[in-house]
Amino acid sequence: MSLFKSRRKKKTRRDVHIEQMAAIVGPDEILFEKEDLLSYDCDGFTVHKAMPKAVVFPKNTEEVAALVKYCAAHDLPFLARGAGTGLSGGAIPLNGEVIISLGKMKNLLHVDFENRQAVVQPGFVNLKLTNSISSKGYYYAPDPSSQYVCTIGGNVAENAGGAHCLKYGVTTNHILGLEVVLPNGEVIEISEDGIPDSPGYDLMGLLTGSEGTLGIVTKITVRILKNPEGKQTVLAYFDNVEDGSRAVSGIISAGIVPAALEMMDKTAIEGVEAGTFPVGHPKDIEALLLIEVDGIAAGIDEQIEQILEVCKSRNVREVKVAESEEERGKWWANRKTGFGAMGAISPDYLVQDGVIPRSRLPEVLQRITEISEESGLRIANIFHAGDGNLHPLILFDSRIPGETEKALEAGTACLKACADVGGSITGEHGVGIEKKEEMRFIFTDEELDAQTRIREVFNPEDLLNKGKLFPTPSRCMDIKTIVKDTVAVK
């Protein structure tokens, strides 16, 4: 009963597949009209767009399995989607997929403090887990910057990292068990109840980070950790990037394992200061480091002293320790919303995710500066310096003809620079469709083949998230067609 509620006319005639899938999930849990589908034409990677056939919202594992079985039986390509914050396009329906949204499977199923584990559904938001257990002094360690919104299912698919993985590891180090719907609709449970080292090949390890190409995760057992007793955060300003980089090596080689060791360069600082959570960093510094040490309170002070010493020996301009939880929170909010904040100084950005051996930091940052000059595009750097995971943010305006291409080229060049020093093309964002071709920077054809053959074991019909992760000769054609059809390269 409502006065104003618009009663929408169903303007599209439903095809038989829509009818059948609606019968599985219920008529309100399927989208198939153009206006509704449009919101699902991309995820956090917006360079490519493609329309799905439908979006379905299953409520439980049985419905996911039924949908997958239906798609498999009718040759409908399909893929799973969490919050859609992925930065490499893993949830973009390149082939007009049926998108299985796990957004309605968002419950915390069980917390077992004695055994230090929690069981969640895939749509459960990362930060909510910590919020749900913090009153008992526990937390969930992987903390990607999008943790306010991203789902643990998505984290598993991407093997998400975060600012604190230097000390605590990435998602794969915190997953204890998985329930998975295989591409044929069969439901399997790996390491039920989080039993360690279950005999056989480590499918859990293989599935984590497989970008939704091997199966759809429907239940996850994760490790939860006790909050460290103490935590201190240091902010250090440097007049040149080189000094900042050397301070990073200095801290690591002093035998300190910081919980986080983050760096931002001048352009990045300009962005975050123009964003929603400015800290008031000086405008003329070239680099800043955000360093966090946690653990037993009695042991932290001496580590902080050491860190301050190292910074001073590297010509730090100013270095300070957060005086309150509020100040610490402010510094982190400024850092964690860094990518989005680039919107405040540039209409578009492309974020890259290369990883390098820490010791090569100065030379690679120099190379990125050159790439910026060559392309004529500004590049901001916000990154996890402690583990060598760079995030060059290439700033561009897609409305200017040719800039999108230039940005993509600059991005590729940054990845090449990382690969050239023995690094990787992605540390936490995944390959998706974005870095498929760049996979060749680090893998030979034989190595790529070894991986695609593993995919065929799980996904022989190639209906699940097809065309992601690996370059194949035939795929080049696919991309061209898709680009023509969908990317209004503005």
Partner: protein
């Protein structure tokens, strides 16, 4: 307790091992990756079966065959390939022993955070292939948490790199995981790159002696420890039989290790002493004394090099359960009958859920005990794998336990990598 006498050289590797099998008709001892690939390629083409060995401590671990056509030994393929201290990573050849690796790294104040058994004999290749871990896994994780890259020789002779040399990497599938704990059935690991950690500046070991009747109180105390702010590197529980052997005290013993900067370690020791429930006694070993204890601890279980004499049958079980069910595993022997000819030594980590059971005694009683431990573990949704047992008994007892519903995926992966079953055939779960 004395550290066991260890054969210093692994060069004395025997081709034939009647007791444990996994032997070969001929020995190949390559000294380069290329040679390894050649041995495999040739065998694969000729339809020969290859067994892989390195330190030789795990010949009693899985496998139904006495002899393969070729015994491929990696013991001569050793050494550090690359180590950049500032990057905190190391790349090493598989035949390097754990001890050699740690000693090399300790000069730089660094370590690989793995503490498996028999560091003087076990090689890093074998430890990774069998996914071996020790009591400090609680704090540092297991092999799957340390390995960031591998080079693997596939049976067809191709060399495949998985992962890389950087500590964070999600490019493509995490193929490293496939080879860790795969018992050499998917490829021969020829290079291993691992993350390193700084050697802790201080360490100590708090031993807590707990009379049997106080086990329930101990359980509560363990929960308290975990809920408190202390950060133990291990919470390893020891059964009375093993405790008697180690400390000459026939009570349950909890080994709580702390590793951190000096202040922090002292603070945590103190916390323990202040919070220990009445009726339990505490003994603290610091620094080198703690190190010495763990060295001895690592030699507790028999391995196929040490267990050569005839006589009583020895078996080692790896049991995986939820963390707290380790306590249940400790108590299994209480429900056992007919164990008069059996010695049962158990230690298990309450922070990681892996229990090690060492059985020594009369053959039929050993077999009986294996079944009982397995039944109990499976009732807790866990498993029991027999990781050391003579080949004769391995043919009688399924050392790996039951196959999961998704076994077909294992078969598919094996078939993809090793279609001719060239490598370590029948060494692993379900005969793959």
């Amino acid at each position: 307790m004395e550290i066991k006498d260890i054969p210093q050289s692994t060069a004395s590797l025997v081709l034939k091992d009647e007791k444990f099998g996994n032997s070969g008709a001929e020995l190949a001892e390559p000294t380069s990756e290329e040679e390894i690939a050649n041995v495999l390629r040739k065998a694969n083409e000729e339809g020969k079966k290859v067994a892989v060995v390195s330190g030789g401590t795990k010949r009693g671990y899985g496998g139904l065959k006495d002899d393969y056509d070729i015994l491929l030994s990696l013991s001569q393929y050793k050494g550090i390939i690359e180590h950049t201290a500032g990057d905190m990573t190391v790349t090493v050849r598989p035949g390097t022993t754990i001890k050699e690796l740690q000693e090399f790294l300790s000069d730089f104040g660094q370590m690989v955070s793995l503490d498996p058994a028999w560091p003087e004999q076990a090689t890093i290749g074998g430890v990774i292939a069998a996914n071996e871990s020790g009591p400090k896994r609680m704090k540092y994780g297991s092999a799957r948490d340390q390995v960031i890259g591998l080079r693997v020789a596939y049976p067809a002779g191709t060399i495949i790199r998985t992962g890389g040399k950087v500590v964070k990497n999600v490019a493509g599938y995490d193929m490293n995981k496939l080879f860790i704990g795969a018992m050499g059935t998917l490829g021969v690991i020829t290079e291993i790159t691992m993350k390193l950690r700084p050697v802790p500046k201080a360490e100590s070991l708090v031993k807590l002696f707990v009379p049997k009747e106080q086990v329930q109180v101990l359980k509560e105390f363990i929960v308290n420890i975990q809920d408190s702010m202390v950060e133990p590197a291990s919470l390893e529980m020891i059964n009375p039989a093993l405790s008697k052997k180690l400390f000459n005290r026939e009570v349950y013993t909890l080994l709580v290790a702390f590793e951190d900067v000096e202040n922090s370690v002292r603070y945590q020791e103190q916390w323990m002493e202040e919070h220990v429930p009445a009726g339990m006694s505490v003994d603290v070993s610091q620094g080198d004394k703690a190190k010495e204890f763990w060295r001895a601890f690592a030699t507790l279980a028999p391995n196929s090099l040490t267990d050569q004499e005839s006589g009583s049958t020895k078996a080692v079980l790896k049991i995986g359960t939820k963390n707290m069910d380790v306590l249940t595993m400790m108590a299994v022997e209480e429900t056992m009958t007919d164990i008069d000819q059996l010695e049962i030594e158990i230690h298990g980590g309450l922070g990681h859920g892996i229990t090690t059971v060492i059985l020594t005694g009369e053959e039929s009683q050993v077999k009986q005990a294996i079944h009982q431990f397995r039944a109990e573990a499976e009732s807790k949704k866990g498993y029991a794998v027999v990781k050391h047992l003579p080949v004769k008994l391995r043919k009688e007892i399924d050392v790996w336990g039951k196959k999961p519903s998704y076994f077909f995926l294992f078969e598919g992966i094996k078939k993809t990598n090793d279609p001719n079953n060239t490598l370590n055939y029948q060494r692993f779960l379900g005969g793959i």
